[in-house]
């Protein structure tokens, strides 16, 4: 019963809140009212049964709470002689056909006038229904800080006039990119092991494909997240990082892979050739054994053309090394700059090791270790350094993993 209720709450929170914000025009009032309605539901439903239309019930209850609150505030203001002509809260009579305003909500939460951190927190709070405490824990921020961040963001939405609407056509593209970036950021936060955030991002991604079924990049992002997440169980072994080539592919989540590929197919059918579609295609190839590294290298090349990102080039170098050998990969890596990027050094180290340039590899592993704070990644680098400790100079490494294709 509890889980069934949790699921309804989870599914309905964003929609109920979005509708209330649309009607009340006030984040705080809407959020408080929605929260009260959910608390009442948690009390009544297990006893009286779940109403036939839970959403309408929740919205109606929340609206009544909000109306009460406005009346109370008004009476209070009147007693103080401060009465301002507040508007009546007009609600549609037919509460079964509320428009779904989650898109308006997510565009508001991801508005560029808000800081990125505020966008992430607000999206998790309003669309995802996570509590302040849950968001604080997931993002490793003290709860007080998170509470202040949310309060400040909501205050700015009101004070600066950040609109509650789907952006007009000339802004839509850019604003949708911003929304996808936030969902991707949430996923990435979760990729390092905080599972709940990855699941949350996938949930948001699914909601977005429901709301924007014809957006190729929206589907591309969902596909990419599903395909990456399918390997979650095998990325760590007892808290230790496991590289793709050493992962037990029989433990990959085949349902997620199939869902991811289906989303990818649809994205491509919709004409998608954008960065998320390309990354999904790469992730799809990564989930194949043997891996088609030549194809992966070509897709990374395409992605570099779109994004001009040196990090993408670094990934291309890895794929190129798999097909043309470590030297070809190193040639790309050494052009990149990225001096303070730990993955540049760990990648260089890996390629140097495979090429048998042990001393240089050791230096590169050390540099990567200096730049790495994450425990699992540090331990991985240390293992590599220990393996290299007894070797000197150059000479090819018979144990170097080669690509199977």
């Amino acid at each position: 019963m509890v889980t069934a209720l949790d699921e309804i709450f989870r599914d309905e929170w964003g929609r109920v809140l979005a509708t209330l914000i649309g009607v009340l025009g006030d984040f705080d009032l809407a959020e408080d009212a929605a929260q009260e309605a959910f608390v009442i539901a948690a009390d009544h439903w297990p006893r009286d049964g779940v109403p036939t239309n839970p959403r309408a019930w929740l919205i109606r209850t929340a609206r009544n709470r909000a109306t009460d609150r406005i009346r109370r505030d008004r009476a209070f203001a009147a007693r103080l002689g401060l009465l301002v002509a507040a508007q009546e809260v007009e609600m549609p009579v037919d509460t079964t056909t509320f428009p779904d305003e989650r898109l308006e909500l997510i565009f508001t939460c991801c508005h560029p006038a808000l800081g990125i951190e505020a966008q992430v927190a607000l999206t998790l709070r309003t669309l995802g229904g996570l509590t302040t405490d849950e968001i604080a824990r997931a993002l490793l921020v003290p709860e007080r800080t998170m509470a202040q961040r949310l309060v400040r963001a909501k205050r700015k939405i009101k004070a600066a006039g950040i609109p509650f609407r789907i952006p007009p056509d000339h802004l839509l593209r850019e604003r949708l990119d911003a929304v996808l970036t936030i969902v991707y950021l949430i996923f990435n936060e979760g990729y390092g092991g905080r599972d709940e955030l990855a699941a949350e991002a996938i949930w948001l991604g699914r909601a977005l494909t429901e709301l924007l079924p014809d957006g190729p990049e929206v589907r591309g992002l969902l596909a990419m997240m599903l395909l990456h997440d399918s390997r979650r169980e095998t990325r760590f072994n007892d808290g230790e990082l496991v590289l793709l080539e050493d992962q037990d592919s029989s433990r990959w989540n085949t349902t997620q892979i199939a869902q991811g590929r289906a989303e990818l197919d649809q994205a491509i059918a919709l004409g998608g050739r954008g960065p998320y579609v390309l990354q999904a295609a790469i992730a799809s190839l990564h989930a194949e054994t043997p891996c088609d590294w030549a194809q992966i290298a070509a897709l990374y090349g395409e992605l570099t053309r779109l994004t001009a990102s040196p990090v993408v080039e670094l990934n291309r170098a890895i794929a190129v090394a798999e097909t043309e050998g470590p030297q070809a990969g190193l040639r790309i890596v050494d052009e990149l700059g990225l001096e303070d990027f730990r993955y540049l050094h760990s990648t260089r180290a890996e390629l140097l090791r495979r090429h048998g340039r042990t001393d240089e590899a050791r230096d590169a592993y050390r540099r990567a270790r200096e730049l790495t704070e994450d425990g699992a990644e540090r331990r991985f680098l240390e293992r590599r350094l220990t393996e290299l400790a007894n070797r000197t100079g150059s000479g090819s490494d018979p144990a170097a993993p080669e690509c199977e294709s």
Binding site: A159, A160, P163, P167, L171
Partner: protein, 115 residues
């Protein structure tokens, strides 16, 4: 909504003086265009920050110092008032201010009535 739009010149004035005559005319025309945008109320143009005088009052005593307020990294170079539906409308007008594209910036401050 009423917004106060603060223009920070940054390196813009210097960069604009290096433009061709044609391009400079465009800059003036763009400022003219901003001034004539519906919803915009202009205030008299500001002179150079180096000619500014800053007044503070401490313990009832008036302290007058030469130059702009040093609490800010950069001095306000100009400002105008804009009446717009929402911040998206304000961002659109801000992006048309030449200083914004020549290395300066426009800060959008929602106007608020404190009294």
């Amino acid at each position: 909504m009423k917004y106060v739009m603060l223009i920070y010149q940054g390196p813009a004035l210097e960069r604009q003086s290096a433009l061709t005559e044609e391009e400079q005319k465009q800059v003036y025309a763009d400022y003219q265009g901003i001034n004539q945008t519906p919803g915009v109320t202009t205030v008299p143009p500001l002179g150079l920050a180096e000619n500014a005088t800053t007044v503070r009052v401490e313990g009832g005593k008036t302290l007058t110092t030469d130059g702009p307020f040093v609490g800010m990294k950069e001095a306000v170079g100009g400002l105008f008032i804009l009446e717009a539906d929402d911040i998206d409308g304000a961002i659109e007008v801000a992006a048309r201010v030449p200083a914004a594209r020549y290395g300066g910036a426009v800060e959008i401050r929602p106007s608020e009535v404190y009294w």
